[in-house]
Structure formats: structure tokens, C-alpha cells
Symmetry: C2
Subunit: 326 residues, 2 copies
């Protein structure tokens, strides 16, 4: 009898694994620039993807309508029915009430205020939907499958127009009281300093957000220049371009020294557009961490570039679905 039971349990286990294998996720990543969707398998590999320009949608309703159509299309293209889909995960560029599935607002996409997006999508799709902030999903992806894999505690940054982070402590995403933790872009670097969009001043983002870097480059080099060009110039040894990246590295390094002393993380992952910056930035930020952070935690932290690039948001959305169903 015992042997028979054990066989039955084994069979059930294999059967469950089969179901897991045959299940798929839909990962959605809404950004200020792009709307990305993907069909993702149970091992978090992307099977098919769709990309749209966010600004191509005149309003919120047409954007939501398109998401619904595209999810259905991904299922149709792959001959999948609802029972094949484990759930839909979606990242949004702003504060999200994760538990109730409400988007509070999106700083860079007008017309989104207190939108019950989870229930809207669930009703139209007939599938379970989970939402979260994009920096949190990116960090979940980098922690589970990317640069921070194997670490216990990680701080994962996304650097672009906005500067944000996701925090994973002892293996779990840390959300904070209202799911708005990780606003490293609004860490003050000085008692006095330049005004920031958030209403405060001297915030990290006010120094190293893309627009601030461009403006600083304009001042120092005397012309309008893109960040790609600024990196190219630096690679050719242009002293002024190197100076701009060095300044950015100093400011980022100071914020990371604060993070290292406060949180003693195993690793810090740097992603977003700026991860393509000239290496001077990374050299300089490591120097500043060594100077300004305490020796024990500074010696323990590893600094990595993000691995999953622009897929991190969608993959993180799939991981969120899985975590939510545990």
C-alpha cells in the first residue's frame, strides 16, 4: 500500500509539473515611450513579443482597448485558450496600489488617475491580472534571473528620465507601507541644490536624470548633445565629455554610498538607458563608494550592470503573477 501511495504521489507531481510546463504568462510593460507585451513560458522565456509607441494612443481607453486586443492576439497566434494562461502581469511607470490593483497616477502619461486597471482588465480578459510599479518588476526579474541571481539582498536601479529602484531583502520584494519604496531618485544629495520635479530639491534625479545630464552637457560642451553622442565623445577621449560622466558617477556614487551604509546589500544592479553610459561613470561611482561608505559594507557590496535589458519589465511581470499565485 505504501509503495502504491508513493507512486500515486509521484504521478500527481509529474502531472503538476506538466501543467506548469504547459502554462504561459502574459507580461506587459507600459513605459512613457513604449508599450510592450509578451507571451512568456513557465520558465520565463519570451515566446513572442509585441511593441507599440505609447504616444500612438490618444487616450487611456484606447490604450487599454489595445492591450486587450493584443493579449487576445498573442493567445490566438499561439493557439492558446484561457486555461493555458496562468495570468497577466503588468508594470506601470508610477505609483501602484499592488494589493487593490489601482494605478494612482503616471507622471509621464497624462489621464491616469486612480484607475482600477486590475478589475477592468480582468473583466475584459477573463484572466487573473496583477499590477505593480515597473522598477519593482525590473528588480524582481534581475533578482530571479538576471544580474542579482543568487544574491540575498539587492538594490536594483533604473536610470533614465526618472531614477528609481526596487529593493529585494532576504529574498522578498520589499514594498513599504504604501508600495512606494525605492524612490532613490529622490534621495537628497545636499542640504541645498537644484529644484526637483518632486517638489523637493537637491535630489539625485535633479543631478543625474537624463534631462539634467543633457543640460549639464550643454553647459560644459556648449551645444545640444544626446547621451549616446556624449558617450561616443568620451570614448574618443574628449576631456569635457569625460568630465560630465565623471560628475554623474560622483553623484550616483554618493547616493549609493548612502544605500550601502543604510542597507548593507549583497549587490547593486544598475539598469536603464544610462547603463550604456561611458565606463568612466562606473569607475567614478566605485571610487566614491570606496571613499564615502564604511569599509565593511563597502567591501561586501558588488556592483553589476543589469542583464535583462528592456525585457526585464515583462519578465518581472510574469514572475509577479507566479509569486501572487503561490
Amino acid at each position: 500500500l505504501k509503495a502504491k501511495n508513493s507512486l500515486a504521489i509521484k504521478a500527481a507531481f509529474v502531472y503538476n509539473k506538466q501543467i506548469m510546463k504547459s502554462g504561459f504568462f502574459i507580461g506587459i510593460d507600459l513605459g512613457g515611450t513604449n508599450l510592450k507585451l509578451a507571451l512568456i513560458d513557465a520558465k520565463f522565456r519570451i515566446k513572442q513579443r509585441r511593441l507599440f509607441n505609447t504616444r500612438g494612443f490618444p487616450d487611456k481607453s484606447s490604450l487599454i482597448r489595445n492591450i486587450v486586443l493584443e493579449v487576445r492576439q498573442l493567445m490566438k497566434d499561439n493557439r492558446l485558450t484561457r486555461k493555458d494562461i496562468l495570468g497577466v502581469g503588468m508594470g506601470l511607470p508610477g505609483p501602484v496600489d499592488y494589493e487593490r490593483g489601482i494605478v494612482h497616477f503616471l507622471p509621464n502619461i497624462p489621464g491616469w488617475e486612480e484607475v482600477s486597471l486590475k478589475s477592468i482588465l480582468e473583466k475584459r480578459l477573463g484572466l487573473p491580472v496583477v499590477l505593480d510599479n515597473d522598477a519593482k518588476l525590473m528588480s524582481l526579474a534581475e533578482y530571479t534571473l538576471g544580474a542579482a541571481r543568487g544574491a540575498r539582498s539587492a538594490v536594483c536601479l533604473t536610470l533614465g528620465t526618472g531614477v528609481g529602484a526596487g529593493l529585494v531583502f532576504d529574498g522578498r520584494l520589499y514594498r513599504g507601507a504604501g508600495n512606494v519604496s525605492g524612490e532613490i531618485g529622490h534621495l537628497p544629495l545636499n542640504e541645498d541644490g537644484p529644484r526637483c520635479n518632486c517638489g523637493g530639491w537637491a535630489c539625485l534625479e535633479a543631478y543625474i536624470g537624463n534631462r539634467s545630464i543633457e543640460s549639464r552637457a550643454r553647459t560644459i560642451l556648449g551645444k545640444n548633445i544626446s547621451l549616446e553622442e556624449l558617450s561616443r565623445l568620451a570614448s574618443r577621449g574628449n576631456r569635457l565629455a569625460l568630465q560630465v560622466w565623471s560628475e554623474v558617477g560622483s553623484r550616483l556614487g554618493l547616493a549609493l554610498a548612502a544605500v550601502v551604509n543604510l542597507l548593507n546589500p549583497d549587490c547593486i544592479v544598475i539598469g536603464g538607458g544610462i547603463a550604456k553610459a561611458h565606463r568612466r561613470l562606473f569607475e567614478r561611482l566605485k571610487e566614491v563608494i570606496a571613499q564615502r561608505a564604511m569599509s565593511v559594507p563597502a567591501g561586501q557590496v558588488k556592483i553589476f550592470k543589469a542583464k535583462l535589458a528592456s525585457d526585464a519589465g515583462m519578465i518581472g511581470a510574469a514572475i509577479l503573477v507566479k509569486e501572487a499565485q503561490r
Copy 2:
């Protein structure tokens, strides 16, 4: 049969509760000034306490010898044997390897370098011993029984000669990669600023550690003055004394704005000697958080004074014993 089983289970439960009730902890708190020991019951109430001047012991060995004697005395006074003691918990003012029970060093007590204190005490006492950093134990106590009780995530500060914090996230003490998280005293407040003991500069502690406040008071008031006197003068409306407390509040508020944006905690608990400072400090730090932190997390955080005062370390040590045995 079912009813009988359920009764048996109930009886076992009551019996276990009985055992828990009759068990005791020994809580020890070693500081730069005082060595405190207490017998603590299973509900974390202090039954008997002992206090010594840390500087009264010529060296490490005599201090350890005294701890062993005093633990035995506490047991003897209360007619307890080893089996009545659930364990010994101890807090130390410096970095501790919690898992291996090693004290790395104590900035304010010379002669402690890589001391395997856990195994030394366990051998001599024949009791289980756990060690941790004092700020972590204070925060564990405030979180479990003090000002942060009922919160999900809390940052608990101790302000004195040194400035440290303990972090409790989603109900668990967060230690970091090497158990040195929470060094809020070494959060840089400016790109440039006064030298700090840690080797860095412009750290919070370099502005608001007790010695820095005393030195600032000397500059502004033109005489040597204790912090108690400084509070008394401020209470009588002395403009210069109020200015000093206002400056301290501004600096602490800026560091807390960083903490609020990064960690979105439910509450911040302020303890240590400075908690007795003039209320101008607390008014000013709340103003600065409102100015410099983002509105959502700033609206969610509550600022409390610590509740357990100088017992927090010993009580936290007892809680640590209990957590370690779970």
C-alpha cells in the same frame, strides 16, 4: 475518539504554555558607559536587574568573568536552575557576526577584536547564547513591545555619541549582507562637509552626534554646555539654544527624508539620549520631512519617540533568544 483527541491536543497546548510561562531569559546590554543585565520572564517583563560601569573593568577578560558571575547570581537569587533559562541574549555596541556569534570590534571599548563571545559564554554558562548589535536589539524591542508595535515596517534610531538604526521590514529584522545594515549615522548629508570618525565626511553623525552638538553649542553660545543644559536653556526660550536644536532637527530631518523616500516605512522611532532633547528638534525634523520627502510616503510615515528607554537593549536581547529558537 475525535473529542478525546481534541482534548488531548488542548491539554498538550496548555502544558506547553505552562512551560513557556515558567521559562526565563537573561538579557544583557553592553554599552560604552554601562553593562546591564536582567532576568526577564517569558512575557518580556524585567524581574531583576544589575547595572555596572563598563569602565570599571580593566579588560575584556574581567568583563566577561563578571558577566558569567552575574548571570549565575541572577539565577541563584531567583532559585532558578539551567533548565529554567530559555537562553541568554546580549547586545553589543559594534558590528557583530550574528550567525557565528563573533564580536568584530567595539569602537568605544578597546581590546575587543574578533572575539568568539558566544562560544566563550556558552561554555562557561552551559546555556544557549545569542549576540547581536545593540541598535538591532533596541529596534526588535520597540517593534515587538514598544513604540512601533503593530507597524509592518519600522526604522528605529538610537541617537547618542554614535547614531545608528535598526530596520524591521515586513515583520522581520533586516540584517543585510554582513549584519551591518542600519548605519544611518553615516548617511552623507552633503557632497562636502565635516570629517567623520568613519573615515568619510559630511555624515549625519558628524553633524548630530552628541559631541558635534556640544561643539556646535560651544561655538554658538560661547561656552561649554551639556545637552541637558542646552535643552533647559531652550525651554526657557533662549534663542541661541533653540537655534542649535533647530539645526540638529534640520539635519536629522534631511536624513529621515532620505529614509522615507527610499524605504516608505510605516513608522520611524527615535530613541537614545537625544530623545530627551527640546521639542524644537522634533518640530523642525517633521517640517523638513514634509518639505523634502515625497508627499505619498511622507503622509504615510509616523514619527514616534522610543518607549522602552534604557531597557530596550535587554528586552530586545530576550526577544532575540526567542526568535532564534523558533
